[in-house]
Symmetry: C2
DNA sequence: AAATTAATTCGATGAATATCTAATTAATTT
DNA sequence: AAATTAATTAGATATTCATCGAATTAATTT
């Protein structure tokens, strides 16, 4: 069962993604209205309004006052925040986990946009970087070279070098122009 | 033509109200991905992903980086704010317009939740209040008494008194148990 | 209690649209 | 330039879901 507070974004968007329901929400944002009043204002049959209200209510978007409904602004606010939270590219936890050394290398070589400032020459540092980069590839999927290049280019324009390093160090394998992780 | 910035909430909710598109948005919130990559991750045919991306793009939700897409977090943020703005019961402009005297009376008699603190005894003050209340009724609509009571009760528990005042002062008319504004 | 009105529920119809197949166009690679 | 691959577009099918009609239940009024 769905509590109104659990952020099922999909259903929320679905219920708000209907013209009539959005109108209803709009009206109820400004003034409380009863079922009958809504029906009159929108010139919509009573039963349909009732159904629409049920949808909105299921999303925890309404609060009842007597027999009038009002938009639960607080609830909506929370949900809007949930959307923002999800949309903000939170640095994935495993991106910078690992030991202190790794974290230090990563943060010094990787720019805010995720790209490489430069390719390390020291082998130990290089390995840290390569292990970070190889996470971009899904295990079990075979990537054509062109796509590998695309992905690597996001890190550094010399994608060919990165590709070679990855293979040489056995982080990825290649066969007939296809690559996969090991 | 719709600029991506104009807040057409309905279309926004519609595009986000599809499971696949929401997944896509979710993925692109955390990392940039190309069309092909998305297709692989979601195990969805390429052409459909292309269409979904077109939808998202039409809402100004994407920004392109090379051939990878990323969720336009800023844009989404703005839109979320737009939602909040609409949802907040902004005191309707005409609620407190009119001359200074009216405004003064209204603000002294009407509580934050819109209800009446008390019913004025002075006729002049009463008229101000009644004119404010009568705006709750749509011109041209005939309301059964029960509904009139409901609406008036939001202002004061003695809805019968309000109803009588409204009729006596010719702000509303009644016939056979139905009321309407004049 | 009977009758009226309000509100919900059920089933069927229709419209919108996601999904699928196929064809077309655009871009890259050899 | 030919050929391969990537991406878009077009059309057909299927599914989802709002809308409509009616019946049912619940609540108020007389």
């Amino acid at each position: 069962m769905n509590t109104p507070t659990d952020p099922n974004l999909l259903d929320l968007f679905k219920t708000l993604g209907d013209a009539e329901r959005l109108k209803i929400a709009g009206l109820l944002a400004n003034e409380p209205l009863s079922l009958t009043e809504l029906s009159q204002r929108l010139e919509l049959p009573l039963n349909d309004v009732s159904n629409h209200l049920a949808h909105l209510e299921a999303q925890g978007l309404l609060q009842k006052e007597g027999d009038a409904y009002r938009l639960a602004a607080k609830a909506l606010e929370q949900k809007a925040r949930a959307v923002l939270a999800q949309s903000h590219p939170k640095v994935k936890s495993d991106d910078f986990e690992g030991d202190d050394y790794d974290r230090k290398i990563l943060s010094s070589y990787i720019a805010v946009d995720g790209s490489l400032k430069s390719i390390p020459t020291q082998h130990k540092k290089l390995m840290v970087i390569l292990h970070h980069i190889v996470k971009q590839f899904q295990p079990g999927i075979r990537y054509p070279e062109k796509q590998v290049n695309e992905i690597l280019r996001r890190f550094h324009e010399d994608y060919a070098a990165l590709r070679r390093y990855l293979v040489d160090n056995r982080l990825m394998a290649r066969e007939k122009g296809e690559y996969w992780t090991l």
